[in-house]
Symmetry: D4
Subunit: 222 residues, 8 copies
């Protein structure tokens, strides 16, 4: 099995008929097809045709044509509150299916900073960290300040009033004073898991030979 | 000298003539009049008439008719970045002048959380903390999670792009998952220092006698 | 019984199963656990397991393991319109449960300023005032101008059109020309009640001894 | 002299040459031509050609071809802060020039509600009130609650941070819980003065005869 | 019967029990009580107790204790599209009940300007015009340009996409290049009808005697 | 000379050196190169190298290597206020240079609808109309209702307060109830002139032969 | 049959009774009346009275009194994602019914640019292209860069989080660096199809005779 | 020399004195210290003390204590327009100084898609691509669709009107339909260069040994 780009179906807003039409087209030729944003109902629709499929209820993902995968490297997915878990699981499940070891660190919001600090070991050894948070989104900045690997920040729509459906968390993450942090769309767990996988796979691959023996050169400005 | 409500002149957008007209009216009857958002030019204008006045350049405050004050209790003013210092100083200077002990903890942004944690002692013994931050404003949440006293959060307009002149920090603070945190307007150091003083003064006053001997009563819902 | 930090469960968006799982974990070791944003349905779910629990329907709070509390000091909760009462009650009920005397002043919106002015006595003797208002949120400013204690302003999502779900009231409160006013998130009655309690408890505690005999010192600027 | 629609030139963003070209075209045939948003420089430009013109510096209005006017009825212009005075003066001066008695009530912001209440007499006898305020704009609601005549509310761009150049005040006014209140654009003193004049002139005119003797009729719904 | 301030109940978001509680309290002492934003269900609830009440279904207003009224003067209510009619009817019905002659001019949107121009006669003889429009809200500007009486503009939430629930129409009206135009909140038909009534009633009243014989005075600037 | 796509340089924010570098690169091979958003200073810089160039000061366009053009068809450019003329001129000048007859109709804002109606003849015979307006942008809707050819609407940044730099006019235009109207960016006179030219050139070209003799066919839905 | 302006009923938010009232009024005198935004239910309502009507389910349009039409010229409707098809179909179906040849190019989003490039032939020979896209809306810019005919861009409300119901796509289209592109409201397929038809019909019409023999004239600036 | 985290000074808004104070503190112990957002004036200030420093004028970066670096792997920095080059250069220069091979591909905006497609070779062999664009920001989506490595998207503040200082480009990038794309703050070239470096350095490092021989495991959902 190739650890590579997954086939994905975004199910939000698609009718059962629509789902029934699309899934077989993709699942005919591919293993580990992902149906994301899948409700229980969508799961039942798919299971009728693909009884072997599996449902990660929290992540809201159906895995069609499940096949074993080789998981490599290390991605940490950290989530601030329990309400952020569905988005975090979407990221984690996506990354696992496409061949990455994933360590989940949930309920580590910054209002109780000591819970996060207990996981320093995991954070320091990751190749990439996905930081998932709603409300004020401060987790991403604190994680970004702790680790020296790339951080992919995911704002969630959790909150009320001035959280504006995730905008407060998004702005917090885009304005982070920590370096090595980039951001995906609100609730885009899939996108974060996929980007983290691209980075982690670069880290576990042998470097191209020609990289091995470069010499120092001057910075030729002016 | 009464430790009480200060006379204040907000100088932003006021012409030298305007300043020359207002200051004497207030300073005639009061000591420790504050002229906030005062540029060097405003300071010079005031000094002509009140040579004894003092200028806190960083806070941009001129103190007219300076008189010694009794400083009580404990307010901590914490600031995330060096660019947030003017707003933090506005809060700190205001609080000092109206009779509060103020401890400054600057450059303790969450991208380097350990620097903040070194000041736990000060934070734990304060009656109230003022947390000043721009960019993603995460400092307020982290401080709010550490302390059990009230926190007054001040977003600053420091940042660029999606900081939107302090809106990102403001939203972060309003959506904080920490309890015991309330917020003032962007860059409103004066308002934060004044609110912190009201709280600290309550803490250092003797409670009214009748408070002493209450009995436990039932919560009478339904 | 300790008058202190309450255990709180935020029930909005949590399923009955979720609630059934969390409540016992917290209520096992604590009295006066608060379940906020609790619908009738949530109340019934909790009552099955904790028949002694009480429901403040207006505040939408369930009190699990209710125990008598010593109520101290004085918090005034003022609300502008009758539609703002649920948020005001969330603040008032929270504050009561954690040991504060609470005086409610409802339906005192500024379109009929005389009704508010009748309560001057209560307002003047409070240690802290919570001002709750939707629509244009002007109550907070008027209250802030009347009292010299700290005011915690709570914008509510009541209104239509350009109230933008509470944003109009929030902006009004953040831009108040009254001093001694800080703001919490839209509809955050719990947060306001908790912050008011922190302040009121400071006021009813004996000051630390070392505060007693300070001398006046000079303001050492420049 | 007819008390009627004034000729107006909006000078903001117009060059001296532009002004020199437009003014004579209007002033040739009309008395009491208004040049609004006129800087000192614009005034000098106009004075060269029309030495008899007058400049209301605070209102930033030049009156070209000044002629006596009959002032009728009663308009009250109330302003919250001293920084709001230029906009209030634009409204007041406009209304005066086109034939209205204008009573100014300045510096009556709601943070000191008692100052406003001292003017109840003037407010109660006005045909229309113009309420001018920046920051949180609460003055309009309080005035609207006191009087039973129409109120024209003018938000000003005075404020900082979340005042967003007058948007906070505007939203406050649009969401006022007082009835009989309508709103003009931010800083549009001219528009408010003009609308107030239209209303005041209706009040001082004899009603049309046919109005005199109507009978009560039923409300014919359904 | 006094033509005066009506008693009003805003029914949106109020439960049947709530309605049943409030209505009698107001209707006990007053005739022509208005229940606005009243659904069919609310109407049925009220009719049980007040069988004589009447329902204006389009305006969504229930009139409790209906009594004949003397209608005076002239208010024109103009609406752009058929979808704007409910808001226009709220304005028109409110104005009628409190004693004003109301002329409705509906479906006169500016995309077919000739339909509006056919009503010039009615527009020119009105004491005040209420202009109701959603989408781009241009009707208010065109009407404002045609008439010389005050115009009260009401943006409606009709539209989709960038109409942003009435914000597009609101901004259009606030920025109108026509003079003599002021604006109320989105969908606030009641507020517009009430403000129009205040103005129309000023027009049909005898002016106070002392207005009769003023002399022209100079504009005393500088 | 080919009437075709012009070479264009957008000069805003470019330094004189930058301009000096780019212009010759384009002007070497092309006639009628347009330098838009060109200040007097930019014009002088270009004139040094290309003394034959011409400057349309109002449109802020420099024409480099001017050559006669064949002007065809008919584009009307209508502008609401005199302050909108620079943007209208940018559209008109662009269209002329690339081979279109352009009729300008300026100062026809809807606050005086009769001025616009005087130009019905020109509007009815145009192949395409460009409607330029700031403030409330209502001109586009009114024009769109009058004509049956395509209208290209250009919002301008003219206005203050809630015009938000052209956003009010933009929203008005996007929400127009008139059909046959599409919109370009705020102040984008060039884009409007170019789009209008594309349309007008289609109108003046001979249709492709094969268009001549089609038969009616059924609409084959379902 | 005249290929001309269609009679259109916008059905969104209209009740069955409302529909039953309007349709006959328009369909009495006209063929090919369009009922847009029509649900299945609306279709059934119309079919009862007009059994010959046809329903384009994807476009959500009912065609009442269907008559054959002569289709001329060439409009390409390109859509980025499958979720954008309903809006694209609204544009395409509208254009067809009023007499235009329409070529659909769907599922050509820029994340797989090669699929779009396969249709270059169709794009190059069109008289006008309608580009329909949600999410980031980049299709419009890429198409605009490929073709030299006018492009009408339609943002759709497809997306989540920061797509803000189509605002992200709208801004992308308004800021396109491609020339010859104008934009309609979010989801306004009808408006785009209509505008495209106006343009295509200009292209297939014989030019007016007098256009034939113009001479080149100088650009007469300065 | 270690290829690692650089010492950085963000110079925007810092006074010459401030710069003079900070630079030596960092440059004392480190080579290749970066002073970003450095104006010519800042460069001169630094050069006085560190004559060996170098200035990348386009990137606005001063390199203090320049030392040769070993450049590894491959980062492509692509920029849409020439006005985006300063931000692209900030990213490119940052990445180079901290040890990465950087290939610049400028002026490849999507309005001329063929220019971008010429660089497919470079894009396909990069370990990470930085995509820099203002206005509609579509470059990021198109690049993201072409490559299978991670893309870091940087919106710039280039544009006018509805570009809203980079917000249009930011939203476009956050809503990209391409996978493997994450975003940094508007104009944050430094942040993008730094994040790209973190990723590229992971790619050129030897993987940790234990990664070498994993077996495929089942996805253990449910
Ligand atoms: N009504 C409320 N409004 C806002 N925040 C609340 C409310 N009730 C509880 N909280 C906060 O939510 C936290 C519990 O959230 P959770 O873990 O999701 O139950 C508490 O510690 C409080 O800080
Ligand atoms: N200060 C002002 N604020 C807002 N609108 C004004 C003001 N002064 C004049 N106007 C309006 O601007 C019009 C004149 O604009 P203009 O033709 O540009 O001089 C007048 O007819 C008024 O409607
Ligand atoms: N799908 C649509 N989207 C936008 N506007 C439409 C649509 N269908 C019809 N319209 C417009 O709505 C008008 C009819 O609206 P109405 O009178 O409410 O049925 C037509 O003249 C069109 O300009
Ligand atoms: N050009 C830049 N854009 C964004 N952030 C930067 C830039 N340059 C430096 N930084 C960040 O700003 C920090 C230094 O800020 P300061 O302490 O104010 O000099 C660095 O650690 C970086 O994280
Ligand atoms: Mg880091
Ligand atoms: Mg705390
Ligand atoms: Mg106070
Ligand atoms: Mg009133
Ligand atoms: Mg008028
Ligand atoms: Mg038309
Ligand atoms: Mg093109
Ligand atoms: Mg990719």
């Amino acid at each position: 099995l190739r650890n590579g780009v997954p086939e994905v179906i975004y199910c939000e807003g698609k009718s059962p008929e629509h789902i029934r039409g699309i899934v077989p087209r993709l699942a005919e030729h591919s293993a580990n097809v992902l149906a994301t944003r899948a409700s229980e109902e969508v799961y039942q629709v798919i299971k009728e045709v693909y009884p072997a499929c599996r449902y990660n209820k929290s992540a809201r993902i159906v895995l069609v044509n499940p096949q074993p995968v080789v998981k490599k490297g290390s991605i940490v997915v950290a989530a601030a509150g329990t309400s952020d878990i569905p988005v975090a699981e979407e990221a984690a499940a996506t990354a696992e299916v496409i061949g990455n070891n994933v360590k989940r660190i949930y309920d580590v919001g910054v209002a109780g900073i000591h819970r996060l600090l207990e996981y320093c070991e995991d954070l320091y050894t990751a190749n990439v960290v996905v930081a998932v948070a709603g409300m004020e989104g401060a987790l991403a900045s604190v994680v970004g300040g702790l680790v020296s690997c790339p951080v992919i920040a995911v704002p969630t729509s959790i909150g009320y009033g001035t959280s504006f459906g995730g905008v407060a968390a998004l702005l917090s993450m885009l304005n982070s004073c920590a370096s090595g942090l980039s951001v995906v769309n609100i609730d885009n767990g899939f996108g974060a898991g996929y980007q983290a996988s691209l980075i982690n796979q670069l880290a576990v691959k042998e470097p191209k030979e020609e990289e091995q023996e470069r010499e120092a050169t001057e910075i030729n400005w002016q």
